[in-house]
């Protein structure tokens, strides 16, 4: 009780349905092209409009190509899905940032950077990585398409109130260890279902010390532990980040908002259904070795032996390693890498490019590696250009592509070929996620850069 989650949730309760869920008011609905067409279709079938169109923002990101966006999308089905979103947004009177629009990008990158996602809000989107926006101090979670339709129709959603969990990471992260490593470490401890049924508040010195971009990365990955969402109480860093952003309140409204936002924290006496504490010093750069994000280890560790795996999990464990082409007990350092992907709603922000650049720093891309560097939005892309980083990367043999979800889930052309091994800053290493037969190792931008310049799995701390 008296957690920040309770405060935000309770402030949005329209009613509690008898022997049922809560009718929760939603402040912001984001729509992308993949999980929205059937929701719009549903509204048409029912003959209704969007209840509060001004609270809904649409943009394509999953299907967008990362080159030649000024030309029609070659894949006919992708093109139709992107066009359908534009038509639907127009028909229902919704704001739409189409391809090449300066505000386009991955929805979870654009929301925070434009000041659309604010502390204390309830935010939903038909996308499990909606938890990203929790970094702003909002209650943000992914929903299905029926639920998207629900919010369009009523600006509300019916949800069971999740349980609350606080994860404290105390101490200081070592040099070369990032928010991504912290998240992969937590997943390796909790497994992909360890936080199912919970909403997570991240706290502790190492979390507070993260930049806003690091916090976005951490909250982004909440779903990979099974959590409905994850968030961090807003603080001066949050306000500093949001001030003067396009859709953030201005003038007197800003002062009033900050005054309210400052009250958004868990009480000293807050009681969580579960509370866990970890030490930042225990975390080293992380890599995954299997086919779910919870199968991760320190980069200098070895893959677990079969006898350390509980019996009911062994069949899945063996299937997973067979897919990856790895053996129990194997070390991954030195393993040759074919592809490197920097981007996604997890690590497609400007600081992620700075981190990647810090490792490149005078080195060149390894000739055996194909590298895709994909900014999360046009805002990130423009900043890279403005600061000359595009030229910096070009000189090192890298090319900056155009923004979108790209190889994270390979709905556009950016597919890792079957059998190839990729070090990826994205969020999922599921079978076939980055293309049929593709093998994915999840890691931080630093570790991805180290692989890109050496052509193998390399500890970024040694470069």
């Amino acid at each position: 009780m008296n957690t920040l989650f309770d405060k935000i949730w309770d402030a949005h309760v329209v009613q509690n349905v008898t022997d049922g869920p809560t009718q929760l008011y939603i402040d912001r609905l984001y729509c992308h092209e993949v999980t929205s067409p059937q929701a719009f279709e549903g509204l048409r079938r029912r003959g209704i409009k969007c209840f509060r169109p001004e609270k809904i923002f649409c943009m394509p990101d999953h299907n967008t190509p990362t080159h030649d966006q000024d030309k029609p999308i070659e894949d006919k089905v992708s093109r139709e899905q992107v066009d359908t979103l534009e038509k639907n947004a127009k028909e229902f009177g919704l704001e739409h940032f189409g391809m090449l629009h300066p505000k386009n990008g991955i929805i979870h990158v654009v929301g925070p950077e434009r000041g659309l996602s604010l502390p204390g809000m309830t935010i939903v989107c038909g996308d499990s990585h909606t938890s990203t926006h929790g970094a702003m101090g909002a209650v943000a979670f992914g929903i299905g398409t029926s639920e998207v339709e629900m919010v369009m129709a009523s600006q509300c959603i019916l949800q069971q109130k999740p349980k609350s969990m606080r994860i404290n990471v105390e101490g200081k992260l070592a040099k070369g260890v990032t928010a991504k490593d912290m998240a992969l470490y937590l997943m390796s401890k909790l497994t992909t279902s360890g936080a199912t049924g919970y909403f997570v508040e991240y706290a502790g010195e190492a979390v507070r010390d993260l930049s806003m971009e690091g916090r976005l990365t951490l909250c982004n990955l909440s779903i990979e532990m099974g959590a409905r969402g994850g968030f961090i109480a807003p603080d001066e860093k949050t306000f500093e980040y949001l001030k003067d952003r396009e859709y953030a309140p201005k003038g007197e409204d800003w002062d009033k908002a900050v005054e309210y936002w400052k009250t958004l924290k868990s009480g000293e006496d807050a009681v969580f259904d579960k509370e866990l504490t970890f030490r930042a010093e225990d975390i080293e750069p992380m890599v995954t070795y299997g086919t779910n994000p919870g199968m991760g280890m320190g980069i200098t560790d070895s893959i677990p032996q079969l006898d350390t795996i509980p019996e009911e999990g062994r069949e899945s464990f063996i299937k997973s390693l067979e897919y990856m082409g790895f053996e129990p007990g194997q070390e991954l350092l030195g393993t040759p890498v074919d592809y490197v992907f920097l981007g996604a709603c997890t690590n497609g922000r400007i600081e992620d490019f700075y981190a990647f650049a810090s490792i490149v720093n005078g080195r060149k891309k390894h000739p055996d590696v194909t590298a895709w560097l994909v900014p999360g939005s046009w805002m990130v892309y423009d900043q890279l250009k403005r600061e000359g980083l595009d030229k910096f990367f070009e000189r090192a043999g890298f090319e900056i592509r155009q923004p979108g979800c790209s190889a994270c889930l390979a709905m556009n052309d950016d597919k890792i070929p079957a059998g190839k091994l990729a070090v990826s800053t994205s969020n999922r290493n599921f079978e076939g996620r980055q293309g049929p037969g593709a093998r994915t190792i999840l890691a931080s931008p630093l570790t991805a850069a180290a692989a890109a310049v050496t052509g193998k799995i390399t500890d970024p701390r040694t470069l």
Binding site: A11, V17, T18, D19, G20, Q23, Y25, D27, V34, T35, P37, Q38, E41, G42, R46, H62, V77, E80, Q81, T84, G126, D127, S128, G142, I143, G144, T145, S146, E147, E149, M150, A153, S154, Q155, C156, L158, P162, T192, S193, T196, G197, I223, G226, R228, N292, E312, G313, E315, S316, L409, A410, M411, A418, R428, F430, E431, G432, R433, P436, G437
Partner: protein, 198 residues
């Protein structure tokens, strides 16, 4: 598809793997459809496990094994993790499953199943292990899922277990009503909430 749910007695299809994610249930390349034809998604349920990379049928996969059939899918722990794609629930419904039994479901996917009139039934680890054993011993054994009584029975061993579902959702399933019908009826409450101010 909206349909009334009551008692289902059926044979089962076993999938004793843990952490089956929605990318496996329906790979991303099938998410490009803009309409909601369940049959399309049903045809591509577990696509990359059902078919080999060259397009031939993977005879080792359970959905291609004529020994097993039925309206009930029985899966290992943490079913439906990962992406929020409702297409996974459409694929399950489109294939003809009306019930999924597991010892643990991922949150979003569980809601998606309920919103598509597929019933996720959570059973104990022990019940699940015994059920996998029963199906292995006799693939034509049946399971009865009784929604009014919230009871699931392994008809081979006679073992029953109660399962949970909130009263509201149970009412919706039994009467083929969805959440949007409810929310539209409650519009005045939403407007009153807005007027009161956040």
């Amino acid at each position: 598809m909206k349909q009334k749910f009551d008692i289902i007695r059926s044979r089962c299809v076993p999938l004793p793997l843990e952490n089956i994610d929605t990318d496996q249930i329906i790979p991303a390349r099938f998410l490009k459809a803009t309409t909601r034809e369940e049959s399309f998604f049903g045809e591509n349920l577990f696509r990359d496990w059902r078919f080999n990379p060259d397009g031939t049928v993977n005879k080792d996969f359970v959905l291609n094994d004529p020994t097993y059939s039925g309206e009930i899918l029985v899966a290992g722990k943490n079913f439906g993790s990962g992406s929020s794609r409702e297409h996974a629930a459409w694929a399950i419904a489109g294939y003809g499953f009306r019930v999924v039994i597991s010892s643990f479901f991922a949150d979003i996917h569980k809601n998606n199943e309920l919103n598509n009139f597929v019933l996720p039934v959570v059973v104990s680890e022990d019940f699940l292990a015994e059920l996998f054993k029963s199906i292995k011993e006799n693939p034509s054994m049946e399971v009865e899922v009784n929604l009014p009584e919230q009871k699931v029975t392994n008809c081979a061993t006679g073992r029953s277990e109660n399962f949970e579902i909130n009263g509201y959702k149970k009412y919706c399933l039994m009467n083929a009503l969805d959440d949007i019908d409810f929310l539209l009826e409650n519009k005045e409450k939403t407007e009153a909430f807005e007027t009161a101010g956040l």
